[in-house]
């Protein structure tokens, strides 16, 4: 399986990568904003995407929408610090498969990834 990690924070990209290192992902790539995520998704065709929301150039919710326009079956887990319910609802409305609130733990990210890829 292939994973694309999208976050403008270096420390978060590394933390998520470490959290999933024992998982079944054979290849992991990263993007640092929504625009890069859309481009990288088209090239890489990942099985799963973790997507931050607050990023420069293009926010994560816009990227979710654009990715799903070209690939409606994309599985995208939004991982964000934005804790209001309206944002989580908006993410799901735009097609995200799940919403995980930061700060994350190894357990919370692993559980959310399992839920997102469960058939």
């Amino acid at each position: 399986m292939k994973l694309l990690i999208v976050d403008d924070s270096l420390i978060m990209r590394r933390a998520i990568e470490r959290c999933v290192s024992t998982h079944r992902f054979e290849e992991i790539r990263v993007a640092i904003n929504g625009r890069q995520a859309v481009e990288e998704f088209a090239r890489f065709r990942p099985d799963l995407v973790t997507m931050d929301i607050t990023m420069p150039e293009m926010d994560g919710l816009t990227a979710v929408e654009l990715i799903l326009k070209t690939n409606p079956r994309a599985i995208i887990l939004v991982v964000s610090a934005l804790a209001d319910k309206a944002t989580a609802v908006e993410a799901i409305k735009r097609g995200a498969s799940g919403f995980l609130l930061k700060p994350i733990t190894i357990e919370s990210i692993q559980e959310a990834l399992e839920d997102a890829i469960a058939p």
């Binding site: 403008d8 924070s9 270096l10 420390i11 978060m12 590394r14 933390a15 470490r18 959290c19 607050t54 990023m55 420069p56 964000s80 610090a81 934005l82 804790a83 209001d84 309206a86 944002t87 609130l101 930061k102 700060p103 994350i104 733990t105």
Partner: protein, 154 residues
């Protein structure tokens, strides 16, 4: 600024350290910063606030504290690039988490990172700056809250 807002940020900071660093953060009572006071502790991140509120949220910490915190995120190395990213992520997380209480109209920017201890905060009559001192494992850090309700916010 309402006292309630400072409580919201105190909760956000506590939640961060409880989740990431198994707790242990203690908060001292907040105080009002003086205009021009040097408040930076080495690495600082600023989040711009727009929407229902305007102003800035800062998180600032010394290198030693960040080095002590990095292993809790799984980092074995400790360099300035990671310290800068960590203060940015903490500022982003505590500001974003505050939306649980302040709502979606509390709009946050991406973090802007500053290095150095001579970072001064310019306060104005309109937007005072409150300082929330935090101690974790003997290391100091601060959240600076400089916010005002936007004129068109009820």
């Amino acid at each position: 600024m309402e006292e309630n807002i400072l409580k919201i940020f105190a909760l956000s900071v506590t939640r961060y350290f409880d989740t990431v660093a198994e707790g242990g953060a203690t908060l001292a009572p907040p105080y009002l910063g003086a205009d021009g006071e040097a408040l930076g502790l080495g690495f600082s991140a600023v989040i711009g606030i727009t929407g229902a509120y305007r102003g800035n949220i800062y998180y600032t910490a010394p290198r030693r504290k960040l080095h002590a915190l990095l292993p809790h995120l799984g980092e074995t190395a400790a360099d300035d690039r990671l310290c800068a990213s960590l203060v940015g992520e903490i500022a982003n997380t505590i500001s974003g988490n505050a939306r649980e209480h302040l709502g979606r109209g509390f709009m946050i920017s991406t973090p802007f990172i500053l290095e150095g201890s001579d970072i001064a905060v310019r306060t104005t009559k309109d937007i005072p700056c409150y300082i929330l001192p935090i101690t974790w494992q003997g290391h100091p850090s601060r959240v600076l809250v400089s916010l005002q309700k936007s004129p068109d916010t009820p």
